[in-house]
Amino acid sequence: MATKPETDTPVFETPGRFEKLYNEYEGTKWSRVAIYGGLSMYLLWTLFPVYWMVTGSLKTREGLLTFPPQWIPLQMEISNYVVLFTQRPEFWRFILNSMIVTIATTIIATFLGACAAYGFVAFDWPYDLDFHLPFYILSTRFMPPIVVAIPIYVIFRDIALVNTLPGLILLYVMFNVPFVVWMMKGFFDEIPDSLVESAMIDGHTHLGAFFKIVLPLAKPGLFASGIFAMIITWNELLFALIITHSADAATLPVGLSSLITQYTIQWELISVAGTIAMIPVLIFAFIVRDELVRGFSMGVDG
């Protein structure tokens, strides 16, 4: 009688050094210290600047610049807020402009990008164009934006779009569509073709199926790319600075930068404006946070 072949039993392998280390520390006090310690450092790193700005907006100029730093504000000065809007009443207009531009851009870019992405996913394209065209669209963002700043300024001047809100919106839609297309492509890929086909057999046109079936299912993706577009647009400074020059169209970042002048930097006012600028995006992200988490984890099926 032959002995059993040795391959039946799993071969014992000496654990490697990392494995030993991992086994030793896994679930122990020290591993928790490392994890929470690391996370705390990261939170401090990201949140401290925000804390400094918000508290800075409540300090006097002297309190803000004093050394050693005033870690906790001694007095709660809201006078800075009043000062900003009395000294620079056009800030109301900057906020309004920013909101108009951001909301319009986000809606238009998300919609256009989603439509384009669906077109690439749903239809047969010859010569692999369903890959090459989206890649071309993305490639428009490969170069440093400053490269096209001058040509765009000249073109915009010739067609009277300089220093107008529609001009800014047009520009920002162009910037955001590539990201939306790429994000939405991933989401649409996950939706089975049979759902659309089923909807068409059930009586929808293809367009109807897109609006009634595909878009609702891709909602997390729409929110994710929407907030992406929103953040980019709300914070954009370079082109706003180049093509706007008055309260007619200038946005909040332009207003913020105007507080830095050749002679002085108005830190306390920058803190105020920065705090104000931060709020809308925070609120929106908070409202759609559930969708957002699903969106960023790319899960269509919750």
Partner: protein, 379 residues
Amino acid sequence: MVKVKYDSVEKRYGDTIAVEDAEVTVEDGEFAVLLGPSGCGKTTTLRCLAGLTKPTDGNIFVDGTDITDVHPKNRNIAMVFQNFALYPHMTVGENIGYPLKIAGVSKEERDRRVEETADILQISELIDRSVGELSGGQRQRVALGRAIVREPAVFLMDEPLANLDAKLKMGMRTRIKRLQRELDVTTLYVTHDQEEAMSLGDKLIVMDKGNVQQVGTGDEIYHQPVNRFVAGFIGSPAMNFLEVEKDGAVVRPSIDGAEFEFELDDDIASAYGTDGTFTLGIRPEHVAVRTTENPRCIPGTVEVTEPLGNEQHIDITFGDLSSEDLQFTVTASGSLSVERGDTVWLEFEQEHLHAFEQSSGERIATEEIVQSKPNVPDS
């Protein structure tokens, strides 16, 4: 009266031919099953009727009207998909009622019909659930419900049972058949499972490599396959084939090393016509297995036995050849006691022999050979 007719329908993708010259007619109220191995073009054929795939050539008629260029939504056709294709953002009731909603049916009417449909399918208690909470079998029933609620002219099903487990499959099969009979709707059903096809279809359409191979009832296809492909595809275990050489009434394998021969009955021998080589086919259940020597029988060696209770499948090789060409599977009674290595003697039931041309695979002498209808097959 809803009759479906494919008139030389063809679908090509570049140089690849998915469906070639399909000529199929499905009568009113008939349950037709498109059957074939994967990639044979059966789903493409179905999708052409649904309007999801546009044929490269040819026309499709429903009820006498050419619908080749009609948008799917205007075809009054319902379809059940393999993955059920339920809308995940809607409840069961909304899913079932969705075709009616698009058609603009009033809310009250819609609710009434959804309830009615849910009743038929015994899913009334699930109406307010989200489809994500349903089991496979329940999803299947919701998909069926969505298809029948609108009382379509034609019912299409693309492997609707493929995603279900074996036990559920049997139950759903009966349900689908009963439903089709009750509603009396012309139905086209795609499957690769021949047992499913045989048990469901009034008419089987066997396809291979984009071509319709044979159209007929399950019995016709099982007992009179028109070519070697159909003969080999239908039946489980599959039909045994043997390349043979005929000399008068004597037949011997045309394979080197095979050292047996057997004699055909006179009428069968004459039906095969002139002498020459051809492929002989016989189903496993049409071979009698004997454990005692018999001059009319061919000796073989048992390779493997697969007992299934009331019967068993026995793999037998002839002589000491291990060639695949000389391996037969036969079905014998479960009480027959044989073991690997035993010698057994096989007798072919001659009236159940099938003969196919070697080069084309076409059947030789179709009508004459099947004289009596044999015992009902096990499927």
